[in-house]
């Protein structure tokens, strides 16, 4: 259990806030902290294991809504939460719409409530990842079987399909598309008639 503590990232321009949160959360989670949006994005790049991001709304340079929107595009699986003292309906709407956040919390937030919400967030993250694992394991498994059949029946077609897939993957990356597995899937089966 100790070794599999989920990782969460707390973002607030006020050092006291993140330090204090860390104090209470560290027993249950591996807590990373950032004091600005840019720093948070960097940490996310380095730590792909982050399950939940909790961000403040009002921060210099990049505000919470913008950060969470960035997080959504950079690491869509990460669960996003907003913890803010700025009870502005506009800000909340923007955060929800742009960042598609999981929860909206207001300061001051009871540590028990935060912990419970984080637990739900981590669970959500687990569900998302589990779903993806399932997808990858079942769907990609059957695709693999198909591809193997193709390799047996038409090795030339397989070579072509692999080249197409590589190109598609590069293109998808360049276009910053998510869920490339669908495209890869389509690429591998692009020469379907040769399988049958």
């Amino acid at each position: 259990m100790m070794s599999t503590k989920p990782t969460i990232l707390c973002v607030d321009d006020e050092l006291n806030v993140v330090e204090s949160m860390k104090l209470n959360l560290r027993r249950h989670y591996k807590v990373l902290t950032a004091q600005s949006g840019m720093e948070a994005l960097q940490i996310l790049q380095q730590h792909t294991e982050v399950a939940v991001v909790v961000s403040d709304m009002r921060m210099p340079e990049m505000d919470g809504a913008k950060l969470l929107a960035e997080v959504k595009s950079a690491a869509p699986n990460v669960v996003r939460m907003l913890l803010t003292g700025y009870s502005d309906i506009d800000a909340a709407m923007r955060a929800v719409n742009e960042g598609q956040i999981f929860r909206f919390l207001t300061k001051p937030c009871e540590p028990e409530h935060l912990l419970a919400t984080l637990e739900a967030g981590v669970e959500q993250h687990r569900l998302i990842t589990a779903e993806q694992v399932l997808l990858q394991r079942t769907l990609l498994g059957s695709v693999k079987a198909l591809v193997e059949v193709m390799a047996l029946s038409n090795p030339m077609a397989l070579g072509r399909a692999v080249r197409i897939r590589n190109t598609v993957r590069k293109l998808a990356k360049a276009a910053r598309l998510s869920q490339t597995w669908r495209l890869e899937f389509a690429a591998m089966l692009s020469d379907r008639k040769s399988v049958v």
Binding site: R58, P60, L83, G85, Y86
Partner: protein, 686 residues
């Protein structure tokens, strides 16, 4: 030569001539011819009065009035005595006449001096003098003719010449008296006088020249008769001439007076008409002018009032106003006497001011008065004439404007508080967040420590016989299980953060309290630097995401301010700066900075709020202090902030607020507050 000097000269010449006549007349008595025996001068009793006469005549010339008088009196007296002597001695006409002549001349001159009516004096003087000269001349000539050497000494030609000279002198004298520059009209009327003179001359000529066969005494008698007649005519003519001249003058004067009168009458009619029309104009002006006008006396009597004043006071007729005392119409009954006292003391005659008047219907009206005091020479006020302007409506509008203004001020304050409230909530909620977190942690930690203690007690109670090493091992296991070391390490930090948070919250709350506190009634000694910090604390949420703040707070003395309102101004400026920076960052992303400086400059304290925001467009700079002017969108600003800032700084603090802005690169607001020299205390600065 003036005619007067000319006349005096003539008189003097006659004086001298008479002197000679007198002297020679005396000598003829002794049978000597004056031309032949001049060196053998013999004195005669008549010489002295004659000489005095001559000197007196000369004195007339030189205007020694008293000397003339004395000479003449003496000549008359001496001549009188001599005449009497000769008459008593029966000396004969040749002896007597010169003496009488001398008396006559002196008397004539004295007569002139007597205080007689001018005309009588003049006529008698002329008559006596002329007769004296004439008779003297005749006597002289007769004496000459009677002498043994006469035919040889006086040939016919000499006699003719002498008679001509005498005639000319006669005429000249006649003319002399008549002709004056002042009255030239007399001169032509003197012709009859001249004719009479000519008649006299002819008589002299006749005596001297003609009728050689007639004895000399007879000739003399006739001549004397002729000359006396001529003199009478002359005197009458002179009188008539003068009378006529006077009458003519009177007539002329009368005519010109009549003309003058007619002209004056015409003028008067024109003037009267003018006066009437101007009076009418003035009456119309007085009654028609819409401003109330009154003429009153210091006692309060109304001497004149126009309909506008009656309207103002709500009175129907001027009579009923005049029957009352003007002071009754003053809302404050003592006001008029008080003002009168001031006017009396004042050097000025024109006074202006504001008053409250009371109408008959008890309604009060505010008026501006402008009046002039009319003073007697001793400066005491005699009348007061003045006009009033009803400003009741104006005052009412002003009052409602003032009310509106204070409402606006309040609403602006509420707006600004409301706008800040959300930000301040965040400012408070953030420290509340970590205070809660840390307290929670401390509570947990305390639970852990308590658990540790209880466990340790239980271990000790369960097996008291254990060795120290065993116990230590058991305790260490327990501690690591409860993560006591970490907890203990983290606790001081947590406590500090909690305290930090509480401090932050209190600071914000006290700043808010300061801001929300209702405005003090009076100025208090204020540390402006503290006020800047308060304003920054309250607005932190507005600027912290967009700009850094740099403060350069100088060593400045305390200033007397309406603290609360000045703080409001600073908040407005800081929030505006933040908005300007936000607007600029949206376009070019330059990092925002707000610089606040305080410094004392001469007798002022300066506060500068500088930002590097979007600046104010040139066209708007002029208008930023106008109420309701805003560059912000609908619903974002009411346009009151800077208008109230200016009202606060300029009207309430006697200071100044200036703006310097460059569109696209920033704005600096400079507030200047005068330091009250009497206030150097620092008691309010904490």
């Amino acid at each position: 030569m003036t005619s007067r000097a000319y006349g005096s000269g003539l008189r003097a010449a006659f004086g001298i001539a008479l002197l000679i006549v007198g002297l020679n007349a005396a000598r003829l008595e002794h049978g000597y011819m004056w031309l032949d025996y001049l060196p053998y001068v013999q004195t005669d009793p008549l010489d002295a009065p004659l000489a005095l006469l001559a000197v007196g005549m000369l004195m007339i010339r030189f205007r020694y009035g008293v000397a003339t008088l004395v000479c003449m009196l003496a000549a008359a007296a001496l001549g009188g005595v001599e005449s009497y002597r000769r008459i008593v001695l029966d000396a004969g006409p040749i002896e007597v006449v010169p003496a009488v002549l001398c008396v006559a001349i002196a008397a004539g001159a004295l007569l002139y001096r007597l205080p007689l009516p001018a005309r009588l004096r003049s006529a008698s003087s002329v008559a006596v003098t002329l007769s004296a000269i004439s008779v003297g001349a005749v006597v002289l000539i007769a004496a000459a003719l009677r002498s043994p050497a006469a035919p040889a000494a006086f040939p016919r030609t000499v006699r003719v010449l002498v008679s001509l000279v005498l005639g000319v002198a006669w005429i000249g004298y006649l003319f002399h008296g008549q002709r004056t520059r002042r009255n030239p009209a007399v001169s032509w009327l003197s012709v009859p006088a001249a004719l009479a003179g000519l008649a006299g001359t002819a008589a002299i000529v006749w005596v001297l020249v003609g009728l050689d066969g007639v004895p000399i005494e007879q000739r003399m008698r006739w001549t004397a008769a002729a000359m006396i007649a001529a003199l009478g005519v002359t005197a009458l003519t002179v009188y008539g001439v003068r009378l006529g001249a006077a009458a003519a003058q009177l007539r002329r004067a009368n005519r010109s007076l009549k003309r003058l009168l007619a002209r004056q009458q015409r003028l008067m009619h024109a003037r009267t008409a003018d006066l009437q029309s101007s009076r009418e104009r003035y009456r119309q002006l007085f009654e028609g002018v819409p401003a109330p006008v009154a003429l009153t006396s210091p006692t309060g009597k109304v001497l004149a009032a126009n309909p506008a004043l009656l309207d103002l006071l709500g009175i129907e007729s001027e009579e009923s106003l005049k029957s009352r005392n003007f002071a009754d119409f003053y809302a404050d009954p003592g006001a008029r006497d008080r003002l009168l006292g001031e006017w009396r003391e004042s050097d000025a005659d024109v006074h202006q001011g504001e008053l409250e008047m009371l109408r008959v219907d008890e309604e009060r009206r505010n008026v501006l008065y402008s009046l002039r005091t009319i003073r007697r020479p001793d400066r005491e006020i005699e009348f007061i004439q003045g006009t009033m302007t009803d400003i009741t409506e104006l005052r009412r509008i002003e009052a409602s404007q003032k009310r509106l203004e204070s409402h606006l001020r309040l609403s602006q304050k509420l707006e600004s508080v409301g706008r800040l409230a959300a930000g301040i909530a965040h400012e408070i909620n953030t420290p509340m967040q970590y205070i809660g977190d840390n307290v929670y942690f401390l509570k947990q930690s305390f639970g852990a420590i308590r658990e540790l203690l209880e466990e340790q007690r239980q271990i000790l109670a369960a097996s008291p016989a254990r060795t120290a090493a065993e116990l230590q091992g058991a305790f260490e296991d327990l501690e690591s299980e409860l993560e006591i070391e970490d907890t203990l390490d983290a606790m001081p930090g947590a406590l500090e953060r909690a305290q930090d948070g509480i401090r932050t919250v209190s600071h914000i709350v006290s700043a808010m309290k300061e801001l929300a506190h209702p405005g003090q009634g009076s100025k208090v000694s204020t540390n402006v630097n503290d006020l800047v910090n308060t304003a920054l604390a309250v607005t932190r949420n507005a600027y912290k995401t967009v700009a850094a703040v740099e403060t350069t707070l100088g060593d400045i003395p305390n200033v007397l301010t309406y603290k609360n309102e000045l703080c409001q101004v600073l908040i407005n400026l800081i929030v505006n700066a933040a908005h300007a920076i936000e607007a600029r960052r949206a376009s070019d992303g330059v990092p925002g900075i707000i610089r606040i400086r305080t410094a004392s400059r001469g007798s002022d304290v300066c506060i500068e709020v500088e930002d590097n925001g979007c600046g104010i467009p040139e066209a708007a700079v002029e208008k930023i202090f106008d109420p309701f002017f805003t560059t912000k969108g609908v619903g974002q600003g009411t346009g009151q902030g800077l208008a109230i800032a200016r009202a606060t700084i300029v009207d309430k603090h006697d200071g100044d607020i200036a703006v310097d802005s460059t569109p696209g690169s920033g704005t600096t607001f400079t507030i200047t507050l005068p330091i009250d020299s009497t206030d150097t205390g620092k008691e309010e600065c904490e």
